[in-house]
Amino acid sequence: MSVLKRLLVTMVVFFTLPAIYAQTLKGVVKNSETGEGIPAASVIVKNTAGGVVAGDNGAFEISVSSFPVTLTVSSVNYAAQDVTVANASFLRVALTPLLGQEVTVAASRFNERLIESPVTVERVSATTIRNAPAPSYYDIVANLKGVDVVTSSLTFKTPTTRGFMGSGNLRFNQIVDGMDNQAPGLNFSVGSVIGLTQLDVESMDLLPGASSVLYGPGGMNGTLLINSKNPFKHQGFSFEFKEGIMHLGDAARDASPFHNIAMRWGHKVSDKFAFKITSEFIHAKDWVAQDYRNYARIGTDGAPKAGTRLTDPNYDGINVYGDETSADIRQVLNGVAAQAPFLAPYISTLTTNPILVSRTGYNEMDIIDPTTLNFKLGGSLNFKLTPGTELILAGNWGTGNTVYTGSDRYSLKNMKMGQYKLELVNKNWFLRAYTTQENAGESFNATVTTRLANEAWKASPGATGWFAQYGQAFLSSKLAGQSDYDAHQAARAVADVGRPEAGSAEWKRIFDSVRAKPISQGGGLFVDKTDLYNYEGQYNFSEMFNNVVDFLVGGNFKKYVLNSEGTLFADSTGTIPINEYGGYAQLSKQLGIVRLTLGGRYDKNQNFEGRFTPRATAVFTVAKNNNIRVSYQTAYRFPSTQQQWINLNVGGNTRLIGGQEQFWDFYNFRSNKVYYLNDLRQGTAKEYDYVKYKPETVSSFELGYKGLLADDRLMIDIYGYYGMYKDFITRTLLVQNRTSAAISQADTLNGNIFSVPTNIREGVKTYGFGIGLDYRLPSNFVIAANLSSDVLSDVPVGFVSFFNAPKYRFNASFGNTGFGNQNRMSFNIAYRWQDSFYYNGDFANGRVPKINTLDAQISYKLPAAKSVIKLGGTNILNQYYVNAIGNARVGGLYYIGFGYNL
């Protein structure tokens, strides 16, 4: 490590001017009640961005240009203090423990103490991350109130608030250091795969509810902001490794290790220049999606049903792929009857009802690389141009294997994504440009690829195809007097003769050859190199108005460049650009005990009408540290890039297409008319209404209270909200005759089926509440609990809402960040319970049972070595659960960790 350190220093020194050091002030920050040092306390020169973070024992060292100087000293769960220092003598600061005192800009883009924020905001600090049982900072979000998480796989977790969760959640923004980290082509936020590394996270702010005004279109349900550590403030080399074990008692996999190594090196070369390098590596066997229940796909919205591979010839297991290929073998039997008329009367006794048969599938564990890999590399170069202005060149790059659930299970294999940013920040303004560069690598769609691999081994259609073999063998067995059950088993055995065993070299060869071929060439590989470019800026005029009113304006321009080489988007002839721009302004004023804030934002996408979204908030300070908040917020979401331009054959004659009118022309919707599939199934030919899809909107009211009670030891946060959604974007199925002939019911089986994005005209309403209690016990013990609820109402009949939220969820935690001899010990226990709920996903629907999880960790500090040893685990009772149907089944993960200079 020291070699690396020296190398990096040498490199950096080459391109930096020798620093001019000012005077150095040393000191220590302590807890006024216990007298113990407060680790990671923040010491900043007041009204500047310059500052440092105290070490483990509260000791700090800060450079100041001159005396006297005023320092703001703060730490999580302590009241902040301004200290004016006259000279360089050793400074002792004692902070009083107090909850809710942290300062955040997330809730209104102005600096505010958490307790005074005008909307509900949940904060996770670096201290919380350090003391959390979860091995990844991302998992901590799940314990915040009102949060639901979808676990697609070990490294792919998607949080959301206030309902509508899903792996590819389009209604919840994730913003990392000001960069929206949604993969621009694949449309999911990749936060847990490619984002900040564990040791570089300074804080996370979660804003439940509509938040477009502040963070742009998309934040219908909430926004998660993740902020990294500035190398000017957070310096030194740190690393952490965790070695764990998982898959204990897993039906699908033997126990296997979990490896996680993270490092960060932040170094201030001079008062003008600092840099950081961060990296993280995760290596484990992934959780396995293993829902082998039979699934009713046709003629329903989709639901698990009775039947196994043995008892249902048309079995279609949720996490079994390839068995989606299904046919009615009556075609084969009737063919035999035509060839052999002497069998026709007998065959006619078998063919009264459809005999649907599916091909034999492969389980998810047989086709998806079990190894989940995640490598992240990040860093920044920070230049102080003036004491108040900083130029930041930063990048986060990541690669790995993970599994994501969207309209299907997608194996994201060797996916690469980078976000690069150039930013100029002043305390009153910023200018930022960033780009997201996505490369799907060798990613593939599990269903399509397995179905095609089945075809590559033995074609389904044709006189000697799989179904013909099956049908003939079935008939032969029936002719031998066998029951349907036995005849189906025998027929499958015949049709599957020579079928490559899962895991065999033959299977791997076939599967890999299909996987390597792009979708456009009849394979399963999707090539996605879509990029996003975003330019934004903001100016805060508050100082100009002498802080009588706070006023800020900002704007952004966003450009997507869709590039999938025709495998995902309709871009076979060249990349497709999409431009979007927006602007916002916000005004805030303190009027007696009320702080009023008014804001608004206008957004325009080249393919959609522009829309203004307003926001109004008020905070009533009813007593010191007791605030009531009222807000009205709106949000607006443009259809995603896929909803605009996808052009993907998903098998079963079905093609997902975007909502752009160009598709109507390309597929001749106007000359060869398209009809609603579900209506046609019922016997009604209802023509598609050719109405252009539009963005969806939400507006929500919130009332909340946050305050300190019981001798300032108890912090209460309560909220209730009411939201109205309009023009929900969903998909509907259309069908078209293949030969431009008149539509008939037979086309529901033989026609071209299109899945198109559409809006649901009817509005739906949501409401809910949350209550959180944090009680600060003496000796640094904190106990906390929260309960939250989300409800969807006014749902029209037949409307599939994808609401996906348990009615109630409950979290409780108990912890201490430092106790015992020299505060060496720390621990945390977190418990979560969520109610059962019905999950709707593009991949699968079904009831998710209630979930209990218990996470815990205990740590022991070695102050002399600046190290900590941590023993922890998540889901330590090893109670396997799924939090969305078709997703990975998650069990216990137990680890021991060692951290240096955390």
């Binding site: 229940r293 007998y346 006794t349 031998a480 007097g481 003496p778 106990i783 079904g846 009831r847 049972p849």
Partner: protein, 432 residues
């Protein structure tokens, strides 16, 4: 200390809450689909037949053993319908098979001895048993009475090398009583553990030859044979699928042939040809200078022998002289009119006369077809008729169901059944 107590209390509470509720249930599992199990607790078919309660089937049980099919017929994972003749019926068959070497009235042991002897081959036994065994359970009460019967595959594949799906078919019918082919089912079905047993009044013997084999070789069907060949001439070259000969020797066909004997053809052709022949002689005589009276007398004396010479052999159909008056298309029409596209045993005929389509309806859809009727004494057919549209009377089927090649009614072949009749059926007025 106070705080510590609170802490412990809260901790305990938390732990208690966790322990009480911390058990995650798996996603909802559904009770599996109930699999249809054909087998019941009753004894299997072979065991049922071998039991002392079924002593009247002991000889057939011996044939099953000889065929090596006891195991299959006891297999509980399949369901069968099996036709089982009584011991008396088996004895009749054996007497017939041995040409009287095992005379009627021999003790049971003699019959049993024959079944077990090398003279009665395993292949024969297997053919009989498997032809009488059908997949699934036939229920006569729900079989329906559609004419003529229900064509059911047996489990007997006579030529597995040709196709794994080839099966000889057998014809249960609930018309005019319960039958299988032309054999009456004499008792209600007996439930066995893996199927149902129907007792029959005779052994249902599997057919071995094609219809064409009989027509081609029977000395009394030489005219019919010639007519069929003539019917095929001119049409087959362009369309082999329309060949009647091919159909008559195709395993896939399912036909009923009403076969007029040579004498019948001869008489009919004579009647048709006589006026033409006589008129020709008369005209010739007149041209030769004979008076009207003399020419008439000459024609009357010469015409019968000349007509006989012309129509007295099957070559009449291939006589180029007659091509203009007996075109292939007409012969084809007449022959097609003698064939039904299904397999009607005489017992499948209605007791009340009714019309049924023939192959001729393939070209003349509106044609009324033929009229069939049968007279029954109990389950036995004593008389059966088929009437052509322009025949003044119905043709009689010569009732003699003795198995091929000796009988004249219900002659059963791989691809159909043949009845010998005493008229040529006329679909329309035919003149030379």
């Amino acid at each position: 200390m106070k705080y510590l107590k609170i802490k412990n209390y809260l901790l305990l509470l938390l732990i208690a809450a966790i322990v009480v509720s911390a058990c995650n249930k798996d996603v909802e599992q559904f009770p599996d689909i109930q699999v249809e199990k054909p087998g019941t607790a009753l004894a299997g078919i072979a065991d049922t037949l071998a039991s002392s309660a079924r002593s009247n089937n002991s000889l057939y049980s011996a044939i099953i053993k000889k065929a090596g099919m006891a195991e299959i017929l006891n297999n509980r994972s399949s369901a069968y319908t099996i036709y089982v003749p009584s011991n008396a019926a088996v004895k009749t068959l054996i007497t017939a098979l041995t040409g009287g070497a095992v005379p009627a009235g021999s003790p049971d042991a003699v019959y049993l001895g024959f079944i077990q002897s090398a003279n009665f081959t395993e292949a024969t036994a297997k053919g009989i048993v498997s032809y009488n065994t059908l997949p699934g359970k036939i229920n006569y009460t729900t079989l329906g009475t559609t004419f003529p019967n229900y064509q059911a595959p047996s489990i007997f594949n006579p030529m597995p090398s040709l196709s794994a799906l080839l099966r000889l078919t057998i014809f249960p019918s609930a018309r005019n009583g319960n039958f299988v082919n032309n054999v009456p089912v004499i008792a209600a079905g007996i439930e066995a553990g893996n199927g149902i047993i129907y007792e029959t009044g005779a052994v249902v013997v599997p057919p071995q030859r094609y219809l064409w084999d009989r027509i081609n070789t029977d000395p009394d069907f030489t005219y019919l044979k010639a007519a069929v060949l003539r019917a095929d001439s001119g049409t087959v070259a362009g369309n082999p699928a329309s060949s009647l000969v091919a159909a008559l020797q195709s395993i896939g066909a399912n036909l009923t042939v009403f076969a007029p004997s040579d004498a019948v053809f001869k008489a009919t052709l004579y009647t048709l040809a006589y006026p033409v022949v006589r008129a020709g002689i008369y005209a010739q005589a007149r041209a030769g200078g004979l008076s009207e009276v003399a020419a008439n007398a000459y024609a009357d004396s010469e015409a019968p022998a000349n007509t006989t010479a012309l129509t007295g052999t099957p070559a009449v159909f291939s006589n180029p002289v007659l091509f203009s008056v007996l075109p292939a298309i007409s012969v084809r029409g007449v022959i097609a009119y003698h064939i039904l596209g299904s397999r009607a045993f005489a017992n499948n005929f209605p007791a009340t006369a009714a019309n049924f389509p023939t192959l001729l309806n393939g070209s003349i859809a509106a044609h009324p077809g033929v009229v069939l009727q049968a007279t029954f004494a109990g389950p036995m057919v004593t008389a059966a008729t088929v009437k052509g549209a322009v025949n003044p009377t119905a043709a009689n089927i010569a009732i003699n169901p003795t198995p091929d090649p000796n009988g004249t009614s219900d002659q059963h072949y791989l691809n159909g059944v043949l009845h010998k009749i005493n008229q040529v059926l006329m679909p329309m007025q035919l003149t030379f």
